[in-house]
């Protein structure tokens, strides 16, 4: 049940993109076409979960033990970059079909702040290992959901008469704002579920 609350929280209530502002660049950059959005979303789910699974033990078994917490940022980003390289090589060799569809997004993910952001959030929120993995996966799923919804809307805007200054990123941001507005409807749901569980 507490995992359900983490999932609902990360996908609907505190959506990583629409409420925590993580991963806005790819949100704008890869939401023009549905195919791109789906590809980016899947790649993020994959890398984000894997990255958290790697950075969590590094922090809890090496850094806290030797008092090296200040190296968190620099190590995490290097680990993520290396992980992305590794995933890329592995996919190329092992699952070429998947590489074909995800490959081009992988290099972009290193600088997707959602990946590093979630890895750091897991540490700051004191999650356990399983909680971290659940949180990472559902954050990435929430990112993908938002990205796909935005792509759906932006594909339609191609045939709409959007005023010239607003075309491109501007209307993308405004649409993102309206999406964030709609997601506000879920506020309080996590609290109610938590209360249900406490009874």
């Amino acid at each position: 049940m507490e995992y359900v609350i983490i999932v609902i929280g990360a996908v609907l209530i505190k959506n990583i993109l629409l409420a925590e502002y993580l991963g806005c660049c790819p949100f704008m950059g890869t939401s023009k076409k549905m195919n791109t959005a789906v590809g980016m979303g899947l790649a993020v789910i994959f890398v984000l979960t894997a990255a958290t699974a790697v950075t969590y033990p590094i922090h809890h078994y090496i850094f806290t033990r030797f008092g090296l917490e200040y190296l968190q940022t620099i190590t995490f980003i290097l680990v993520i970059a290396a992980l992305v390289q590794f995933v890329e090589m592995f996919l190329k060799k092992a699952i070429p079909a998947l590489y074909q569809s995800l490959g081009i997004f992988l290099p972009l993910i290193t600088t997707n702040c959602a990946v590093l952001g979630v890895a750091i959030l897991c540490i700051r929120r004191d999650y356990s290992f399983v909680e971290s993995i659940v949180f990472a996966f559902s954050s990435a799923a929430g990112f993908t959901l938002a990205l796909v919804l935005l792509a759906g809307i932006r594909e339609r805007l191609i045939i709409a008469d959007v005023p010239k200054p607003l075309q491109g990123t501007a209307i993308g941001l405004i649409t993102g704002g309206l999406m964030a507005l709609a997601f506000f409807g879920f506020s309080g749901v996590d609290g109610s579920l938590n209360a249900l569980m406490q009874q």
Binding site: Y70, I74, G191, N194, A195, Q198, Q199
Partner: protein, 190 residues
Amino acid sequence: MKEIIQMIVVLSLISGVCALALSGFRAATAERIEDQVLQNVQGPKVKLVLDKAENDIINDRKTISVNGEDVLLFVGKKGTETWAIAYESKGGGFGGDIKVMVGYDIGNDTLTGIQVISHKETPGIGSKIAEDQFTKSFKGLTTSTRFKTKPEGGDVDAISGATYSARGVCEAIRNSVEIYPQVKKQMQAQ
């Protein structure tokens, strides 16, 4: 081959120099950072717990060892005389550990107050443990009080809907009271 060696050497050199620079900077700022965290995170709470102290509580802190564990002790003074002490302890809440700062008047062994330093309870429900209405009820209780909620057979009023969270606070206080005699003894020995 030469290229690979160059790559490795350059990358290692850069990383090495950066790591060195960072640990140097870390050494230079560590003390100040610790001080800032105390001032900004625990400081305000400690000042509430030891509200009648006249000294600079954060500066007059000391570390003592109880049962092999370090305890960070804040000392409140009236004039030059030590009036009260406060230290942190924790208990298990509903969402995770609840950290509580408990203050003791060492003259008559009563609680000068408690403050919740950090918790992960449900906002709006369990989070009520951090509100004044709940924390004030501990002020002035003696250390011999049964720090359990009433349904558990203790003396503390629980909060409706936040039973677990209130129990967590009580547990933290029990843990704190348990080592209080030793802390007090060490304090007076110094």
